[in-house]
Amino acid sequence: MAMYSRNPILVELKEVAPDLVNASAALPFQAPLGYFETLEPLALVEEPVFLADSSLPFQTPAGYFEAIPQALMNRIKSQEADTAIETLPQLEQKSAQVVPMRTMRRWVMYAAAAVLMGVLVTGSFLFSDKPMEQMKEKYQLEDMGMALDAVPDAVLEQYLEENQTIAVDEVLSSATQKLPELSDHIQTISNDNLNNYLEDNSHLESAVSEETLN
């Protein structure tokens, strides 16, 4: 069965393993008579036949090799036919109404994205100071008077009773006391401070001017 010259092998073996030089290069296995000639591998169940003229010890069933080409082509064609059949149902299903899973999955994806966005926005809202500050700025009442006007008197009175402060007490207690002369206080204030105050509260200017002149 060797396709190449055996001489190099023998030369090599003499150097490497001299005892193997005398061993036959033939396999002790036998192939059954006619194994490679028959067309069908039916001979697989037959008793292998010893080939007296072969030095191979292993055997193959009679007619084995003859059967291989045809049996192989039959198997290949069968596999290719199975592959073709598998593609047919896809063509038949085209006419049937099928709800594509992708649309549903797309909605689920949108909903999931919306929820995620909501979580992110809420998280940034809750854990960021800026929104709170912005809220404070937005809702900071610039005009307390206007805000208080919107609150009913009963609510205000209740609040004052429940939250009496020193300032409230002082106001209540000072109701009967005579207030100190304003002119005395104004004289202790420097002109620069007074002018700054007047700039900030221009509506009092006329009243202060009269006092100052007096």
């Binding site: 069965m1 092998i9 090599e12 490497v16 193997l20 061993a23 591998p41 010890p57 291989i68 192989l72």
Partner: protein
């Protein structure tokens, strides 16, 4: 008389003669491929399975054969890979260790109807089963097929130096085994 490799490839490349070309290729190389496999797996039924799988792979892959090597080298390479895969799968399926695998193959050799321990050829077979799989393959290709290392390196995708070292070690081990058997 078989057609040349070029003629077979030409037949195969033509859609109308593809099957004819493949059939002729199988008839030309089936025995060589079979015995290459059988030497490794020992059992005929296993060799038949591996041969069938090998020939189917050849059918599917032949159109991609680039003729960078000889056709026979390419066929042998597919057969070698299929054989090694089969043995690895057999070992995994049976959850066998390497020693158990060796014992299994040795038992298969001894189970052959014509086994005769007095004959050197059979003792040689027993010794070969003691080798690791790839080393066994190297020994078979060199000892039984007298394959040059250059060609063998294309079959097994291994350097010539490594193959030479592997073969020398294998020959030494076998010689020692036979002496002590």
């Amino acid at each position: 008389m078989h057609a040349s490799d070029q003629e077979l490839l030409a037949l195969f490349s033509n859609a109308s003669t593809k099957e004819q070309g493949f059939t002729q290729l199988v008839k030309k190389y089936q025995e060589k491929i079979y015995w290459h496999i059988r030497r490794m797996v020992i059992d005929h039924a296993d060799a038949d399975d591996v041969l069938q799988n090998t020939l189917i792979k050849i059918w599917k892959g032949l159109e991609h054969f680039r003729e960078e090597s000889q056709l026979f080298t390419w066929l042998y390479r597919i057969a070698s890979n299929e054989t090694l895969s089969f043995l690895a799968k057999q070992q995994r399926t049976a959850t066998q260790s390497l020693d158990e695998m060796t014992e299994s193959l040795t038992n298969k050799v001894k189970a052959d109807l014509h086994f005769n321990a007095n004959q050197l050829e059979w003792r040689l077979q027993l010794a070969i089963q003691e080798l690791p799989e790839k080393q066994r393959l190297v020994f078979h290709l060199r000892y039984y097929d007298a394959m040059p290392y250059e060609e063998m390196s294309k079959v097994l995708d291994t350097s010539e130096g490594a193959l030479k070292a592997s073969y020398h070690h294998a020959a030494k081990k076998i010689e020692t085994f036979i002496k002590n058997y």
